[in-house]
Amino acid sequence: MVISREDLEHIAKVARIALTEDEINELLPQFNEILELLARARELPLVDEELLSTTDAEDEFREDAAIPFSDPDAIVAQFPKKRGRYAEVPPNL
C-alpha cells in the first residue's frame, strides 16, 4: 500500500474533489495498483538529469503594448453566476 484511506481523503481535499464513500472504495485499490506499477521506475537505471520539457523555443520577451481583447463580454457571459459584470461566489465573512 502506497497510500492509505486517510491519505486519499486528504489528497481529495487538497484537490477539491468531494469523493463519496463508494468512490473512495473504488479508487483506493486502483491508486495503489497504479502507484506500485509506477514505482518500478525506481529500479530502472536512470540518468542523473531531470528533464522538464523538450521545447526549442527561445526565451524572447514580448514588447509592452496594450492591446485590449476584442470581446470581454463573451468572457463575462460565461460566468455561471454573475452580478452585473462581476462573477459571483459565496461571500466570506
Binding site: R62, A66, P68, P72, V76
Partner: protein, 445 residues
C-alpha cells in the same frame, strides 16, 4: 528583542499585463473589461511571452537595492491554491532573479516576479479579474529590523527609491506588505495584507503588544499566519486549513526559463536616475541645508522636487521653512506629496506668501485648503490700505481701554493682543507688520 522582516509586493508600471496584452489600468475601468482568454484562464489559452518592460523595471529596482542579478536561467513556477481571484487556481511566480541586496541597513534576501490575482470582495462575494495578471515584484528582506521605527524608516526609504525609479503602477495604492514579526521567546508570525506604511506601523504595534501580552500571561506564540483587518485595526488568525496548504510548486511547462542578459543589466545601470541618498548628498552640498532636513525632503520625491524649485525662487531659507511645514501637514494626513492633486498650487502658494501678497494666517489657512480641497486655488488677497487699517485700529483702541492702559504701562503683550484683534476683525486682510506700525503710531499719538 523584536525582529521584523518584510515581503513587499509592488505592482509595476507597465502598459500591458505580465503574460497578455490586456491594459493594466484596472482601477479606471468597469469590472471585467481588462480581461482576455489568458488572464481569465479560459481552457486552451496559454501565457504569451513575458512582458519586456516588466524585466526592465524589475532589474532597475534590483540594481537600486544593490542586488546581484542572476544570469542563469530563471523558471516561472506554479504555486497552487484555490481562491476565487486566481483564475487558474495557481499563481505564476518566478524564481528569484536578484539576490543579496541592501537598503537603509536592511538586507534584501531576494526579488522575484509574479502575477497579481484579480479582486475578490469577501463581503460582497464578487470577483473582478481586471487586476489578474498585472505584473508584480515581490521584495523579500531579511528580518533585520528591530523596532517599529526602523521598520517604518526602511519602508519610507524603499518607497522613495520606487518613486525615484517611477516604477509603481498606481502611486496612490503604493505597495502591499506581508510582515514577519517575532519577539524573543516566541515563534515568527506572519501578518498578511497590509496596504500602507501607516497600516504596517499600526499592525506591527498591535502585533508586538499582543506577543508581549501573551508571553506575560505565560502563553506560547506559535508560528502562524494572520490577516490585518484595516477597519478594526486588529490582526486575525487565518484558519489552519489555509496555512497548512501545500502549494505543490511546479515549473510552468508553458513558459521556457528566461535569462537576463548582462548587457541589459549594464544598460539599465547606466540609465539609473538619481536615487534618494544621492539627492540628499546633493541638497546638503548644493544648498547648504542640514542632513536631517535633506532626508526629510528626499524621502518624499515630490517634496524634494518642490524644495529645489522653491529654493531658486524664494531662497533656501524660505523654501526650507515652507517644505518642513508642508511635511508636517502631510504627515498629519498620512500622505505623500504625490497624493495631492494639482501640486503646482503649492508653488503659487509659496510665491504669494513670500512675496507678501498674503499674510501668514492666510497662508496657514490656504495650505490646509490646498491639501484638503482639490478645487481650491490660492489667490492673492486684497490687502487693506493704510487708511483702512488705521480706521480699524482706532476702533480697536476705543473698544479696549484696559489693554491700551496696559500697553501704556509698558506691558508689551498688550500690543500683541491688540494686533490680534485687528487681524481677526479684518479677517486676515491686514498685513500684520503694517498693522503693528500703524497701531504703535496711534497708541503713541
Amino acid at each position: 528583542m523584536v525582529r521584523i522582516g518584510f515581503e513587499i509586493h509592488v505592482q509595476l508600471k507597465t502598459k500591458s499585463k505580465l503574460f497578455c496584452t490586456c491594459p493594466t489600468n484596472f482601477l479606471d475601468v468597469e469590472p471585467n473589461t481588462n480581461v482576455c482568454p489568458v488572464c481569465t484562464a479560459q481552457p486552451g489559452s496559454k501565457p504569451n511571452g513575458i512582458n519586456e518592460e516588466v524585466i526592465r523595471k524589475a532589474v532597475l529596482v534590483a540594481l537600486a537595492l544593490n542586488c546581484k542579478i542572476r544570469t542563469e536561467p530563471i523558471r516561472f513556477m506554479r504555486k497552487h491554491y484555490f481562491y476565487p481571484d486566481l483564475p487558474s487556481n495557481y499563481q505564476r511566480t518566478s524564481e528569484p532573479f536578484a539576490v543579496d541586496g541592501e537598503l537603509a541597513g536592511v538586507r534584501i534576501r531576494e526579488i522575484h516576479i509574479e502575477e497579481d490575482p484579480g479582486r475578490y470582495e469577501l463581503r460582497d462575494g464578487t470577483v473582478d479579474y481586471n487586476r489578474s495578471g498585472v505584473p508584480l515584484i515581490e521584495i523579500v528582506t531579511e528580518p533585520d529590523m528591530t523596532s517599529v521605527e526602523e521598520a517604518r524608516d526602511f519602508l519610507k526609504h524603499l518607497r522613495a527609491v520606487l518613486d525615484y525609479l517611477d516604477v509603481i503602477l498606481y502611486p496612490q495604492i503604493g505597495f502591499r506588505v506581508d510582515a514577519n514579526v517575532s519577539i524573543e521567546g516566541g515563534e515568527r508570525v506572519e501578518v498578511k495584507n497590509i496596504n500602507s506604511i501607516h497600516g504596517v506601523v499600526r499592525a506591527l504595534k498591535y502585533e508586538i503588544a499582543r506577543h508581549k501580552r501573551m508571553l506575560a500571561m505565560g502563553k506560547k506564540i506559535t508560528r502562524e499566519t494572520r490577516h490585518w483587518d484595516e477597519v478594526r485595526g486588529v490582526t486575525v488568525s487565518l484558519r489552519e486549513k489555509e496555512t497548512a496548504e501545500d502549494y505543490r510548486y511546479m515549473p510552468d511547462p508553458d513558459i521556457p526559463p528566461y535569462h537576463i542578459d548582462p548587457a541589459l543589466v549594464e544598460q539599465l545601470r547606466a540609465q539609473m536616475p538619481e536615487l534618494p541618498h544621492q539627492k540628499k548628498d546633493r541638497l546638503v552640498s548644493e544648498y547648504g541645508i542640514d542632513e536631517s532636513a535633506a532626508w526629510t525632503f528626499v524621502l518624499d520625491k515630490g517634496l524634494g522636487d518642490l524644495f529645489e524649485s522653491l529654493a531658486d525662487r524664494v531662497g533656501v531659507k524660505n523654501a526650507t521653512a515652507f517644505c518642513l511645514n508642508l511635511r508636517g501637514e502631510l504627515n498629519y494626513r498620512n500622505k505623500y506629496l504625490s497624493d495631492i492633486q494639482k501640486p503646482e498650487r503649492l508653488e503659487s502658494l509659496a510665491d504669494l506668501y513670500f512675496s507678501g501678497k498674503i499674510t501668514k494666517p492666510v497662508y496657514v489657512d490656504y495650505l490646509r485648503k490646498v491639501l484638503d480641497d482639490p478645487t481650491f486655488v490660492p489667490k492673492a488677497q486684497e490687502l487693506l490700505s493704510e487708511d483702512e487699517i488705521r480706521a480699524i485700529a482706532r476702533e480697536i483702541i476705543a473698544a479696549n481701554p484696559d489693554a491700551v492702559a496696559d500697553y501704556r504701562n509698558g506691558e508689551k503683550k498688550a500690543l500683541n493682543f491688540l494686533v490680534g484683534q485687528i487681524v481677526a476683525k479684518t479677517k486676515g486682510k491686514a498685513d500684520p507688520k503694517k498693522a503693528i506700525q500703524i497701531l504703535r503710531g496711534e497708541l503713541n499719538r
